[in-house]
């Protein structure tokens, strides 16, 4: 049997709730947008129920190691084909196993979930590494980037801790949404009026503070000066800093 949900994490958790409550044996779980008609399997659409979702989430948290409790959400964010079923198995095992499920590396499903989560976490890390703020005339530090997965929500807490006393925006160009932080809390935003480049996130100079140009030039100069010419190794550079991020990097702009 095929279960379809609305494509949100709460939707997915609602599916898990139904599976438990009605002892369903799904062969596939998929988001509505990825659903393809098949003739042979029966299909049921599960409506999202926040209450159910929360109950699953809370119950699950008690079974996970606190330092690893982001794995299910991160793995789900990967959007990988089949991740929903692997994750269902992960959750199942978390509830029944006497040992902590995270260590069951010998199980294909558990390994799939951990690897997917790892890829997503790595992408979130890259956002934290490679996002570059430009200080606009109204004193907001603006940045934009296109991560492979929808990872901005995973980075907000860190950005808030780090840039606690400045207003900032971090914007996902691919998914056309971002977060605005006002020195107290951050909220999700979508910018209808794109005053910045849609491909690189660069703001035009006339919208930036005067000293912005100085810092950008100083940074570009710094990156050049700190390079050791005798040890050039562009391959290694690309390995650590994938080319797909270069267009957002101040130091890689001409």
């Amino acid at each position: 049997m095929l279960l379809v949900y609305d494509g949100t994490f709460e939707g997915y958790l609602s599916v898990v709730f139904e599976v438990y409550k009605r002892k369903l044996e799904p062969t596939e779980i998929t988001a509505k947008e990825h659903f393809q008609h098949t003739m042979f399997t029966s299909k049921e659409e599960i409506t999202t129920d926040f209450d159910h979702a929360e109950r699953v989430w809370k119950g699950l948290q008690q079974k996970l190691k606190p330092e690893l409790n982001q794995i299910p959400y991160s793995a789900w964010l990967s959007g990988e084909k089949g991740i929903e079923m692997a994750l269902l198995e992960y959750i199942r095992q978390a509830f029944i196993l006497p040992l902590s499920v995270e260590g069951n590396f010998g199980d294909a499903n558990i390994l799939t979930v951990r690897k997917a989560a790892r890829r997503v976490m790595r992408e979130a890390m890259r956002v934290l590494q490679f996002v570059r703020f430009q200080c606009t005339l109204d004193g907001i530090y603006f940045s934009a980037i296109s991560p492979e997965y929808d990872v901005l929500p995973l980075t907000i807490k860190q950005l808030q801790n780090r840039f606690a006393d400045q207003n900032w925006v971090v914007y996902d160009l691919k998914r056309d949404y971002g977060f605005y932080y006002n020195k107290k809390t951050s909220e999700e935003i979508t910018l209808a009026d794109k005053t910045f480049s849609r491909s690189t996130g660069a703001m035009p100079a006339n919208l930036l503070q005067e000293e912005e140009g100085f810092y950008q030039q100083a940074w570009i100069g710094y990156c050049k000066s700190t390079t050791i010419r005798e040890r050039l190794n562009p391959k290694l550079q690309r390995q650590h800093m994938p080319k797909r991020f270069w267009k957002y990097l101040t130091e890689k702009k001409r």
Binding site: E67, L68, I71, L99, E102, G103, N104, F105, G106, L111, R114, A117, R118, M121, R122, A124, M125, L128, Q129, F130, R132, F133, C135, Y141, S143, L154, T155, K157, Q158, N161, R162, F163, A164, D165, Q166, E211, F214, Y215, Q217, A218, W219, G221, Y222, C223, K224, S225, T226, T227, I228, R229, R231, N233, P234, K235, L236, Q237, Q239, H240, T250, E251
Partner: protein, 437 residues
């Protein structure tokens, strides 16, 4: 802020780049109310230079003027080079401006010696103090203590910075004296000991008084130049081992000697820095810190130099074949850690995963073990036992041959990468976000 600052920055970044210690790790400094920045557990690399090194900190000299004349140093007073000095304010502005734009994790400040060690140290200390007090900056600061500076100034600096370090540079006192007649080990060890004692005392005090000031909470580190002088790897590694144990250093960095002053007859005539050797030293250092190896297991009187062809872990295993094969389903963690082809992460996973089931070859591969290498050193219930009868030399050749078809891997200066053939790349730039594995 203007062109002049930009020019000065370029000169002083260029002059500082040979100092390899860039990691901004080892300390959690929470942001205070209304301040800017926090230092997270492991340094984040915000960019990478074309030579592939991590840019995590604004690494810069306060000045490249110097009253000394160390043979191995590009900034020695007899060199005819462009010289510059950044003011305290300029350094503060650059640090904050870069930090707010997410260019850097913090500041790494070193300096040539102007007028006197105290004069120099005081200005450096002021940069840190201003950042913390006036700018309410909570990002990372790593500062070099100037040998010969007064204890009082070093103490003041220690209050504001995360890490203080004194570079030893030359791995033995006689060689140091030969290349840097104005320096000696006493002047280096005095501040090093002083810092060590302050760190210990302050930790003790903070146990009772939670709000007592910190003192270089991320500890101290040092750098050794490799290949400028004739010390053996054995000498270097036992010095490093002493520094970790005796001086409680957090990190020792090794820097392959770059021939910056070719005209100086006291230095060896080499064209390129000894990168492979530097890499092997880092791997050995890694083995001492994370794989529970002792220096004398890695190099000894019979083998005073590291094998450049194979990594030190494999070299150890080949010298100690009598300890293998080991059973991955039973052996203790420490022993699993010693198997070539199994890194720290794979070893931990094996310990976890074998609680669930007996692990076979396929499980091991999935976990990240490099079976191509590990198969010579382990048993489970499947592997044929015959391969274990090979003599060490044959095995060595076979393994090297097995590695050949791969494109030659680049020596890497990013330490966190060393995983000894561990397939699972560590999430190398972890913060507390990246808590997986």
């Amino acid at each position: 802020m203007n062109d002049i600052v930009q020019k000065k920055l370029n000169i002083l970044a260029d002059a500082a780049k040979y100092d390899v210690s860039c990691a901004s790790s080892g300390n959690n400094r929470a942001n205070t109310q209304g301040g800017v920045g926090n230092a997270v557990n492991c340094g984040i690399c915000h960019s990478f230079t074309e030579d592939g090194r991590c840019i995590s900190l604004l690494k810069v000299l306060m000045t490249n003027n110097c009253i000394y004349d160390c043979a191995y140093c590009i900034n020695r007073r007899t060199n005819d080079r462009p010289r510059a000095t950044l003011t305290v304010e300029e350094l503060v502005d650059l640090t904050i401006g870069f930090y707010r734009r997410n260019y850097i994790e913090g500041l790494f400040l070193s300096s040539g010696v102007i007028k006197s060690p105290d004069y120099t140290m005081e200005r450096m200390m002021l940069v840190a103090k201003k950042l913390r007090i006036e700018e309410r900056y909570n990002g990372y600061i790593h500062m070099k203590a100037i040998p010969g500076a007064s204890s009082d100034l070093i103490h003041q600096a220690g209050i504001w910075v995360d890490r203080l370090s004194v570079n030893i540079e030359i791995p033995s006192n006689p060689e140091l004296k030969r290349l840097a007649p104005e320096k000696n080990y006493v002047d280096i060890y005095r501040p090093m000991n002083f810092i060590k004692e302050n760190i210990i005392a302050q930790k003790e005090e903070r146990k009772h008084l939670r709000h007592a000031p910190t003192f270089a909470p991320a500890g101290q580190s040092t750098q050794l130049i490799v290949g400028a002088t004739p010390e053996s790897d054995r000498q270097i590694l036992s010095l490093a081992s002493d520094l970790y144990q005796g001086q409680r250093l957090k990190r020792v960095y090794y820097s392959g000697y770059l021939p910056v002053n070719e005209y100086d007859q006291r230095l060896p005539a080499i064209k390129t820095p000894p990168l492979v050797r530097e890499n092997r030293l880092y791997q050995s250092d890694w083995l001492m810190r994370f794989y529970k190896f002792k220096a004398n297991e890695i190099v000894s009187d019979e083998h005073p130099f590291l094998d450049l062809e194979i990594d030190p872990k494999l070299a150890w295993a080949l010298r100690n074949l009598h300890q293998f094969p080991i059973n991955v389903n039973k052996a203790p963690y420490e022993m699993i850690l010693r198997v070539p082809g199994i890194g720290v992460q794979s070893a931990q996973r094996i310990i976890e995963a074998r609680k669930f089931r007996t692990l076979n070859t396929q499980h091991l591969t999935k976990i990240g073990v490099v079976m191509k290498r590990a198969k010579y050193f382990i048993v489970n219930n499947e592997l044929p036992a015959s391969v274990f009868d090979l003599p060490s030399e044959t095995l060595r050749k076979q393994i090297i041959l097995g590695d050949k078809p791969k494109p030659k891997s680049q020596p890497d200066t990013q330490l966190k990468l060393f995983s000894f053939g561990d397939n699972v790349k560590p999430l190398r730039l972890t913060t507390n976000l990246a808590m997986l594995d």
